[in-house]
């Protein structure tokens, strides 16, 4: 503070412009303020985008990815995404008579068969094996394993026995997949007991289809477009296939319809029912209120999941029905009390607020009070409840479908897909992982969105800022 500025002019009175006192921050309506807060909450906003994305995936997805969710692709069963789709064109399968040969004379030996080898190309149509005959044995037994055999280890799947010593060939046509198998051949005595150690052979099997199959699967337009020996790419399954060879992406989309249908409509209906019930109780008050709320207490006390199951049996699922509707009804019947309680509490609280009295004093009618004050002031809480009810409904559907009490097969839902996936969890985990990730992402997004909405509507936070 230098005295130079303290000139006599500085001490002249001024007329203060009262406009300067305008509040620097603009005033916002309740909804504008809530929206502004939601936008500021990055997590909630990303969740909002995820929810929109999920809805697109569910509604628009089946138009983009038009594969039928119930069609089986038997060439590709339980395939993880990104697995080899190549297939060679081959002639149709020709029967094979096998190989019989003279058995050398001699004493029975416990040596394994020698010179085990394949005949022709090894394809998914057939793998043909021959070996040299062994003297003095009663027959041979053939095993197939998917792991490299170890000494004393398991031999795998017993494929069959050749019960004469001169039968020195075997044709394997059992569910062949394009991968490496390990065959084991050993000799048998008269009683069918193993006589020798196994002789094993690793065989790489290639996938082949016939020209007719290629046309049937719409890989080529006509048989003349494909020659034997050509390489084709089989149908694309971006998310792989399930244990019946059905396209997982298509099933996830159809399953999303079931899960989100129940997840969104059940809460919507029961929150509406709860609003009607709760506001009726709140407005009537007194005896009616306590009777209504006592009934709600009873419904809350019912063991939820057991009654979900019970109600579903009671409604029954006819042949060919998906069971979505009974589940929806059961959910609504059992879940409304929490929303009813909440709304009643809100109504009772707001009814006592000063501004309701003030508005009434100014001559406002009940209808106006409800429209202008009650509903806008409860909407925030109801919206938040709805957002949190969605993930729990999705969980319930998944849980029921998982224990086999949900939607009836073949209708897919994320829960039933998890149930199917869990059986093959050890060998093909993608069948469990994809639906589980879908459920988790959806629930996560709705939970975070609910958190964001709650914070956005929270009046205490408003004053704290």
């Amino acid at each position: 503070m230098t005295d130079a500025t303290l000139s006599a002019a500085g001490f002249e009175p001024v007329q203060v412009d009262r406009q300067m006192q305008q509040l620097t921050r603009p005033s916002l309506s309740y909804w504008q303020d809530a929206w502004r807060r939601l936008k500021a909450n990055r997590r909630a906003f990303i969740s909002l985008y995820i929810v929109i994305g999920l809805l697109l995936f569910t509604v628009a997805g089946p138009w983009v990815w038009t594969v039928d969710p119930s069609t089986q692709d038997l060439d590709q069963v339980s395939k993880a995404p990104g697995s080899d789709r190549r297939a060679f064109i081959a002639e149709p399968y020709q029967p094979w008579d096998g190989v019989r040969t003279a058995v050398p004379e001699g004493p029975a030996s416990s040596a394994p068969p020698t010179n085990v080898k394949t005949v022709g190309t090894t394809t998914t149509q057939a793998v043909r094996l021959t070996w040299d005959p062994v003297a003095g044995v009663a027959g041979y037994r053939i095993y197939r394993n998917i792991y490299r055999p170890t000494a004393g280890g398991a031999l795998g799947l017993p494929l069959g026995d050749a019960l004469t010593p001169d039968q020195v060939s075997f044709e394997d046509r059992l569910d062949l997949e394009p991968m490496t198998y390990y065959y084991a051949v050993l000799t048998l005595d008269r009683f069918g007991q193993a006589l020798s150690a196994p002789a094993s052979l690793g065989v790489k099997v290639v996938r082949v289809i016939t020209r007719a199959q290629a046309v049937e699967r719409k890989l080529v337009a006509s048989e003349s477009d494909a020659k034997v020996g050509d390489t084709l790419q089989l149908a694309l399954h971006p998310f792989g296939t399930d244990y019946l060879g059905r396209d997982l992406l298509a099933r996830l989309m159809t399953g999303a319809r079931v899960s989100l249908l129940i997840g969104i409509f059940a809460p919507l209906f029961y929150v509406l029912l709860g609003i009607a019930y709760g506001s009726a109780a709140g407005f009537m008050g007194g005896k009616a209120d306590s009777v209504l709320m006592r009934f709600a207490d009873f419904v809350v006390a019912l063991p939820f999941l057991l009654f979900m199951i019970l109600f579903k049996i009671a409604f029954g699922i006819g042949p060919g029905e998906s069971g979505i509707f009974p589940m929806l009804v059961a959910l609504v019947l059992l879940s409304w009390p929490s929303a009813a309680r909440l709304v009643r509490g809100q109504i009772l609280q707001i009814r006592e607020e000063g501004y309701i009295g003030a508005s009434r004093l100014l001559g406002a009618r009940t209808g106006y009070l409800v429209m202008r004050h009650m509903i806008p002031n409860t909407m925030g809480v109801i919206l938040v409840t709805l957002t949190f009810a969605i993930p729990s409904a999705i969980f319930t559907e998944a849980f029921l479908s998982f224990i086999g009490m949900g939607v009836a097969p073949p209708t897919p839902s994320w829960g039933s897909m998890c149930n199917e996936g869990i059986r093959t969890m050890l060998t093909t985990p993608h069948e469990l992982i994809f639906p589980a990730v879908m459920i988790s992402t959806t629930v996560l997004a709705f939970n975070l969105l609910g958190d964001g909405l709650r914070d956005a509507f929270d009046a205490r936070m408003r004053s704290r800022e």
Binding site: M1, T5, L6, F11, E465
Partner: protein
């Protein structure tokens, strides 16, 4: 003004808060002294920084978002801002007691009143639990709650507001502190209860000889209790002095505004109270000039740009206003406002 021992001396205290909207400069360089056995009243409207000032001295502002950016608070030669411990023991609760505004929420709802009072003694005086409880019963009786032994074993929800505030006072005085900070101790109470609490505080002060720092926005309470008064506005002291200085020889236009807004006996039934127009400045970005400029009826050209400093207007009487600058030719017009109390009434 008597020249008793200074027990607390605060120098240039500055406190900021980080909020969503930016940094709030809640306290902007406050200095004052508290003398033994005397009552200092800190007066100001909501948000002027009076509570934050005392809470930051007591180490009660949450950090973060709060931050003490400068200042010292010397208690018996020790800086409370840097060091909250005296002889290894926390000065809070033992050397300085504090009473809060809302007794209904300021006591732990799941602990008995007796336990809450005894706790202080156990921690600071090393009393055993039973010793401390016995002393707690005495303290409850001291603040004139009847049936003290029974009351000690009750919970806060079983008490009335006035009783709770008495219990708060008993709790804050348990270790016989030399300073009692009372943060709006009567604001949440009925008027009749207010008077009782104030009487109790004055009686206890006489008995124990402690200093009281009274934070309030109620000038009636100030007139009744205070020896010295400090008027705060927008995080600063705008006027300080003895009660007579501030009430009868008020030098700052804000003080004059407060006085004009307050009913008084002398004006009679036909008085008109004059409110202060507008609202305090946004402390997100404190104005470069005087904080009161926009509301001041005596505003001058320089007030907008130049930040006024505390100027002496009498013995230990200061005002933060350019009107008091020696170069100012203008007078503070507020002096014509009728005086309180013993000043003869002129009709």
């Amino acid at each position: 003004m008597s020249e008793r021992d200074v027990v607390l001396e605060v120098e240039d205290l500055k406190v900021e808060f980080d909020t969503y909207g930016g940094i709030v400069h809640a306290v902007r360089g406050v200095s004052f002294q508290v003398r033994q056995g005397e009552t200092l009243a800190i007066v100001g409207e909501s948000g002027c920084g009076k509570s934050v000032t005392m809470q930051s001295i007591m180490g009660l502002i949450p950090m973060p978002p709060g931050r003490i950016t400068s200042g010292t608070a010397m208690y018996r030669g020790q800086d409370l801002i840097r060091n909250k411990y005296l002889g290894g023991r926390d000065i809070r609760g033992s050397a300085i007691g504090m009473v809060f505004q809302d007794p209904m929420t300021s006591l732990n709802p799941t602990m008995t009143i007796g336990d809450q009072i005894a706790e202080t003694l156990q921690v600071h005086r090393g009393f055993s639990k039973s010793q401390a409880l016995a002393r707690a019963v005495e303290l409850i009786a001291m603040v004139r709650i009847p049936d003290a032994a029974k009351r000690a074993s009750q919970y806060p929800f079983e008490f009335s507001g006035g009783m709770l505030q008495r219990s708060m006072i008993a709790m804050s005085l348990a270790c016989e502190p030399s300073i009692l900070i009372a943060d709006e101790p009567t604001t949440a109470l009925d008027v009749t209860i207010q008077a009782q609490i104030l009487d109790l505080l004055m009686d206890l002060q006489k008995e124990k000889g402690m200093a009281i720092v009274l934070i309030t926005h109620d000038l009636g309470v100030v007139a009744r209790m205070a020896d010295d008064v400090m008027v705060m506005y927008a995080g600063e002291i705008v006027e300080s002095g003895t009660i007579d200085d501030v009430f009868y020889r008020g030098a700052h236009p804000y003080t004059m505004g407060l006085r004009a807004a307050m009913p008084s006996r002398e004006l009679g039934a036909r008085q008109r109270l004059t409110p202060i127009d507008g609202s305090p400045p946004d402390l997100f970005s404190p104005p470069s000039g005087c904080g009161y400029f926009a509301r001041c009826p005596q505003a001058m050209r320089m007030c907008q740009a130049q930040h006024p400093y505390l100027m002496s207007v009498g013995t230990a009487h200061h005002s933060r206003c350019w009107l008091q600058h020696p170069d100012s030719t203008r007078q503070v017009p507020g002096l014509s406002i009728p005086h309180l109390g013993s000043v003869p009434v002129q009709s």
